[in-house]
Each structure stands twice: as C-alpha cells, then as structure tokens.
Amino acid sequence: MLTFVAGKAAGDGRLAACAPQISFGATRRLRITGVKRENFLRSRPDVGYNRPMLQTARPKKKSQPKAPVHEKYIEAFRWILLTRTFEEKLASMYRGGRITGGVYVGKGQEAVSVACGIFLQKGDIFAPLIRDQAGRSAFGEPLVDVARTYFGSRTGPMRGRDGNIHRGSPRDGQLAMISHLGAMVSVVVGSLMAKRGRGEKNFIGLTTIGEGGMQTGASHEGMNIAAVEHVPLVVVATNNHYAYSTPNDREFACANLVDRARGYGFEGYELDGTDLAQCLDVIGTAVKRARAGRPPQLVVASILRLAGHGEHDDFSYVTDDIRKEPFAIDCLQRADAFIKERELADAGTLQRWREEAAEEVENAFSAAQKEPVPTGEEEDWCAISTRDLVDAIE
C-alpha cells in the first residue's frame, strides 16, 4: 500500500483539512473536516519556521507488517553511499582551498535524489538541480565529470566555462541547469513535446526543485504549461525547510505545497524524504504514472538540509528545534539501519561497499586533477556556433 497520499495523518485535523485531494485506489482519503486552520505563525512572527506547515509523513508504525523491500533498495543505497562519500571529499577539498567557487552538496537529500534518477531510462529527460548528485549518478553521470566540472577541467563537460552544479550533458538527456530557479521546468516540457512530436514512445521527463525555487514565476509558468501540454513530466519538489537561510514561513503561505498539484492540474503526493523505501515507492510510482500517460506528477518530499546551503555556509540559522524533527533524520543512517535490521547485507558487505565507494571517489578526483585546465589565451571566445555571424568587435 502506498502511504504517502495527501492527508495521510488521519488524526491530524490540521493536515487533513488542507491536504487531501489526489490519490489513487484504496488509499484515497477524502476527508475535508471542519477543522479551523490556525496559523500560529501569523500571531508569533518570531517563530523560526512555520510549524503547521511541516509536511512530514511520519515513519510507519513498528507494528505494521514488514513490507517487501523495494527491488532497487540496495542499488539506491549504494548510489547514496557513493554520493555521500564523494561530497564529503569534495567538501574537505573545498575547506582545503582546492576548489574555486562554491561547493553545494545534497547531504540528507540523497534518498529523494537517487529515486529521481534511478527509474529513468535512456530516452528520458532529467533536469536536476543543486542537490542531486545521487540522482545524477544513478541516471548515468560519470563521477569523473563532476570532479572535472569542479576543477574546471578542459576535458570535462563544461570545459571550465561553467562550474560546480551547473553542468549537464544534454545529448544524454541530462540538461545543464542554469542558476535561475524554476527555469528548467519549461525546458523539460519542450523537450518532451518534441519527443512526442517525433513519435517517440515510453519516455518521461523528471525535474527537481526546492521549496524555495517553487516560488519563482518561472516555476509556476513551467508547471502550468506542463499540464496544459499534458506532457509526461514528474516534478520532485524537496522541502528541506530552508531556501538558503529563509525558513518556510517566509517562503509560502499555503497550508501544504502538495495542494498546488490540484491547482496546476497535476497529480500530487507527499513523502518522507528520510525514508529511502518511501522515496523509491512514491517517486517510482509517479514515474510509472507519467509513463502511462497520466497528467504531470508532483511529488513533495519533506527533509532537512543537513549541510549548509553551500560549504561556505555554517547554517547556524537552523534552529535546535527543527534539528529534532523527524524530517531531520539522516536518510543514509536510516537506510543503513534498515539494511542491518532486515539483514539485507552483513557488516562485512557494508564495509566493502564503503571501501569501493571511497576508491571510486578517489579515482574520479585523481583522474580529473591530472587534466589540463583552460587558459584565457587559448580559449575560443565565441558564444555562438554560427562562426560567420560572430560580431567582430575590436
């Protein structure tokens, strides 16, 4: 059974009042009660974040029968492990002054992210954002390309012209995000329209966005046009409770972001992003439904960003209260515990996986490090491909 349907906390009048709309089959719980929607933040503007808006799906009760383990659980876990290992190394290199510019990691969000990449196939379009290393890797981005981009290697996909997370390989279906949040949603829509126009079948697009990025005009325009064009799109929104330092209560005032699904003409689901099993279930289902021709899908994951916005940021603005919330659990630790509890792998195997991840990370960095970096004199300073139309200015 899918547990993520909006309005899942049946006893919680507050959430039930605002959320339930889209669901399927037996899990449907359309209960719009007469509960008054309080918004205590409005009367207590000093509160660090808006508690009534917390959108955490609670972990399943222990007494529930054990659900079968998702077939991709272990594969996903290993991508998470690889990502965490890679990003820890990256962060330490940043602290050591070996990376120019910013370093942005997805610590705590890897379970959501990996689920975004792992169900995609050749021919699909993936437009990842800042915290999607796990998803990018699962979709097929070689780790060495990440290292190359951070080092600005001439051999890398961005050739020193763009850095860090602003990278991609559009010919392989992985779009190269621009910084401007929300801008990639409509780009995916266009790619999907072109594929449909060509008569391709069975493809989807998936793009990610933060709860902060969801508030841009571009994001609204993109979601709306996706539904108007009825393209097979999945938008995975991660509410990590902050946009840089700004908490939810200064980001949006709707009761629940997943409610927007109905407004846009999407199908919408919530999930607990700390739980890899749920991430795989819910996002996997959304991907399937998009492939099956359902309307665009919106998944809203709840999580806490367990690192700074970038490595330059000590995230001291994250309150102690919020660090104790269930959505602040580390998805990697939780998955690790789950594997042990369910005896999916023994201690030795886990250790071997960690060592293999470390080795792969080492290889990626050391390979990229040896590569040449660009030079200003040798650079081809030309921003268009039509050479005879270059504006010749002296």
Binding site: D162, L192, A194, E221, G222, L389, E394
Partner: protein, 322 residues
C-alpha cells in the same frame, strides 16, 4: 500583386512550416482561426494542424519550452504578442538560450519574434524597441528588418541559423510597407545594405527608423546635400565594415535608432566608428534616439518622443554645417 511587411512575415512562416517539419509556432493567440494579435499567423493553424499552438500567458515558459524543443531537434518560432512582454522571458532568452552553446557546445536554434516599436496610441507597454538590450548579451543574433524583402528572407534565415535569434519586426511597418513581390534572392545575414547612396553624410539606421532617415535624406537632397543611408539589417552582428566604408566616403556619421538613448545600437555604432575610424571623421559623430522617458500614449507626445524625419533632418543639417 502587392505584399505588406506583415504578410511577408506570415508567408515566411507558411513557407517554413511547409518546408521544414521541425518548425512550429508557439505563442499567445497564434492558433485557431484567430491567427495572432496582428494576424501574422492567420490561417496557419488550419493549414498546419498541431504546429501553430496557442500558449498560456507565460512568456518565460513559452521560451523555456522552445529551448527544450530546440534541444530535441525542433526549430521553434516563438511569437511574443508585443516585444514589451518579452521582458518576462528575458531570463530564458539571455541566460538559458544565450548561454547554452557556450556552456555545453550545443546551440539552441530558437527564433523569438518581437513585434516591436511605436505606433500611435500604444503607450509605454506596447511600443518598445528592445534590440539594444538583447544585443548587449552574448550568444544571440538580433535582426531588425526594415523592408518587406528582409522581413521575409531574414525570418527564413533566422530559423535556419543554429543559434538563438531575436527577430525584431516593426509594428509600424506591418501595414505601411508594401512590395510588389516576395523576393527571389536574399542578402547574406549580418551584412548591412546601402539603402541610399550619398557623399556628404552617412546615416546609419535600421528597422522603422530607416524610413524616417530616408525621408530626411530626401528632404535634405533639395538643399543640395547627398546623404548616404545604411540599413544595418542585423544589429548583432553589426556590420562595422560597411559602416566604416560609408563613413570613409562621407566623413560624417549620424546614427539613428528608435530605442532609448542610454547605450544601445546608436552608441555602439558611434563607438566603433570613433575607435576604428577616427581618422575618417571630419566632424564629431552624432546620434538620434527616442527620449529617455517611457513611451507616451498621446500622438502629440509620441511623435515628439520618437525620432522623426524632421528631427533627423535637423540633426543632419547641424552635422553638415560642422
């Protein structure tokens, strides 16, 4: 047969849709039996089902969608209802389309059509000329056709070019400008045209201002001066060589544009001639632009705000006296 500038744009799109199945048109009200706010796509939705698509009022998403489609091999034409509203899509045009080739080595062949420039009674938000702004950013080609022939051939060229093209079509010329036939041959993109030959002064202009400049030149011809008028055709790339060659003949330069005065195409023309052809100049170059205020509604105000043949002639006379 007689064909207007607007009909030439429609005909070019019809030809593009007919000849190239990668082409589709995406914009507000372009589809159905309506055919666009100015009728630039009239009848095309019917002739080419599924390829002339109405969009929501979402300029950002319209261009974003076009970018995505272009990356997948399509040749989208986005129609902005008015150039002014492309401000909403600036991010997609400048930051997404304009950076993509540089960043990834993959160009984005989109064409964004901007119904541009002032017409009587259109006011601050339906009159703007945005070519200077787009030309400022790397990665874009900016076309400003001034004739029926160019309106036709340059739109066809725009779609053929692998890079993003901002195609500024002038609303004032839509109905005012007529030609006998659609052209059979075309001038290369990026090349300026000598629209009128002369020996005493060079006026460099483009789009609707070309015609004001030509009228000014005719006026002044009665006084015994022959003005050469250069039609830039594309403002980016800017054909500096043709401009310099003309200034070499005349020794005097007046740059005329309809956009706002701060920076922009006229400033760029003067900067290039001053730096690359200083020795060619017999007098300090001058320019005429719209005023540095929003574009006014009332025709009395508008006709003063916008550079007119009269104002251009006055400036030209001053320059000729120097």
């Amino acid at each position: 047969m007689s064909i207007t500038y607007l009909e030439a744009i429609r005909e070019a799109q019809a030809k593009l849709l007919r000849d190239d199945k990668r082409v589709f048109i995406y914009g507000q009200d372009v589809g159905g039996s309506f055919g666009g706010a100015f009728k630039a796509t009239k009848g095309l939705a019917k002739e080419f089902p599924g390829r002339v698509l109405n969009t929501p009022i979402s300029e950002d998403a319209m261009v974003g969608t076009a970018i995505g489609a272009a990356l997948e091999g399509m040749r989208p034409i986005v129609e902005m209802q008015f150039a002014d509203f492309s401000s909403i899509a600036l991010n997609q045009i400048l930051n997404n389309a304009g950076t993509h080739y540089w960043r990834t080595n993959i160009p984005v062949p989109i064409t964004v059509r901007l119904p541009s420039g002032g017409t009587k009674g259109s006011g601050p938000f339906h009159s703007q000329s945005m070519e200077s702004l787009y030309a400022h950013y790397p990665g874009l080609i900016v076309m400003t056709p001034a004739t029926v022939e160019d309106a036709y051939t340059m739109l066809i060229d725009a779609v053929a070019i692998d890079d993003p093209v901002v195609y500024c079509e002038h609303k004032y010329l839509y109905y005012h400008l007529k030609a006998d036939n659609l052209p059979n041959d075309r001038m290369a993109v990026g090349k300026a045209r000598i629209a009128r030959t002369g020996r005493d002064l060079t006026i460099v202009s483009y789009s609707a201002m070309l015609h004001e400049s030509l009228s000014a030149a005719e006026e002044i011809a009665k006084e015994g001066f022959e003005i050469e008028v250069v039609d830039l055709r594309t403002v980016k790339p800017l054909d500096t060589a043709t401009v310099l060659a003309s200034v070499a003949r005349t020794g005097r330069l007046l740059a005329v544009g309809e956009s706002f005065p701060w920076g922009g195409v006229t400033a760029e023309v003067i900067a290039r001639v001053s730096t690359e052809g200083f020795h060619l100049l017999d007098a300090a170059p001058a320019r005429v632009n719209a005023k540095d205020t929003p574009i006014p509604y009332h025709p009395n105000l508008w006709s003063t705000h916008r550079p007119s043949a009269k104002l251009i002639a006055t400036k030209a006379r001053q320059l000729l006296r120097e």
